[in-house]
Symmetry: C3
Subunit: 155 residues, 3 copies
């Protein structure tokens, strides 16, 4: 694979969207020292929600993974907007993935792998991250997945 | 608006309560470097829980917003207890808002705006933060909202 | 109590397990500066899930506390794997505890105390941490509790 994140994204056929505006009165990211905190991202594409519904009821694991991948693409889009250049992102520290699911759903790890796999594909070893994956009782606008992240950046 | 957080709070008619003791065996905040981690705060006022119940069933969005605002007031009370002087808080980095809701509730962003709006009113531009808003299956003591925060402080 | 964490663990009769491999495509911890982010840990013992089920339905608070304690043991095991020597851990900053529960369960603080109590027993004052405790609609593999942590370490 190529060594820059932009080149990897290109090889993956992914073009980052415009970083989404927040859904409410907050900002999409905050930089403090060499940490970049990105607000929870939703499975949006071209400004619209693409995957809503509940895992364990309306949606299968593959649909959940696709939702998680979209969240991850939007996390990277925010990281690019925050830094101006993804090469300033020195690593992904951590994500928390929230899955909109029924009370007996147990495949949160597979769903959030849709994000983790993409982030490692796009960022290489810099993309290996700590993670929690849990279910939420529900999520904004009924989306299937919401993911937040902390990146390390060069100051 | 005034330039100090204390003066803004005064203009908003908000007097910060005594920082609440934790509900269990932990501490209300930890400072590490120039980051202040505040434990999840509940919608308490004068030492009592003010807003309990479930969004989407017992409570409307406005009641949820009021709960979120109380959580935010308690976050600031902890920040004051931690620093001794809110002017040492250089910015709010991030909040995570957990909403006690039914499985089909979708207005988490509006509910957590009750906190975000207050924090920006009280802190000005320093109060603009990254954020995630999700539903929890339930919350301690049946409260409607729980919010945790990370602040940046001067060392 | 003894002054080193290893000696305290020994007095508590706890031997740390091998740090568990992650359940999916991510890493169990990431170090950035003097912060150590540990991925969400499950109530596993000897490589197997020990406590699954839902608080408020299948499990009582004591079973939940035991699950939380196991998560905390696994957090310390990861901290040891990350640092090579627990004396390099200067303090525990924060945990987030997710409880797999019904919609009307309200004793998240008592459940997560199973982790907090152990961490203070094992780490002494260094173990006093900020915390959030919330319910998740469900958790990976149906476990009862998942807990993530941020530790401060010496660089």
């Amino acid at each position: 694979m190529s060594s820059t994140i932009e080149a990897r994204l290109s090889e993956l056929g992914v073009s980052l969207p415009e970083a989404a505006a927040p859904a409410a009165n907050y900002v999409p990211y905050v930089i403090t020292g060499n940490q970049l905190f990105v607000s929870g991202q939703l499975p949006m594409e071209a400004g619209k929600i693409k995957v809503s519904g509940k895992l364990g009821a309306d949606l299968g694991v593959d649909e959940g993974k696709a939702a998680a991948r979209l969240c991850a693409i939007n996390l990277l889009a925010q990281a690019k907007a925050a830094t101006g250049d993804l090469e300033k992102v020195t690593r992904l520290i951590k994500i928390v993935g929230f899955v909109n699911s029924t009370g007996d759903f147990a495949d949160q790890p597979q769903v959030i792998d849709g994000a983790s796999d993409f982030l490692v594909e796009a960022m290489g070893d810099k993309g290996r991250h700590a993670r929690s994956a849990v279910s939420a009782a529900s999520l904004p606008f009924g989306v299937a997945v919401e993911i937040e992240a902390i990146f390390e950046i060069s100051e």
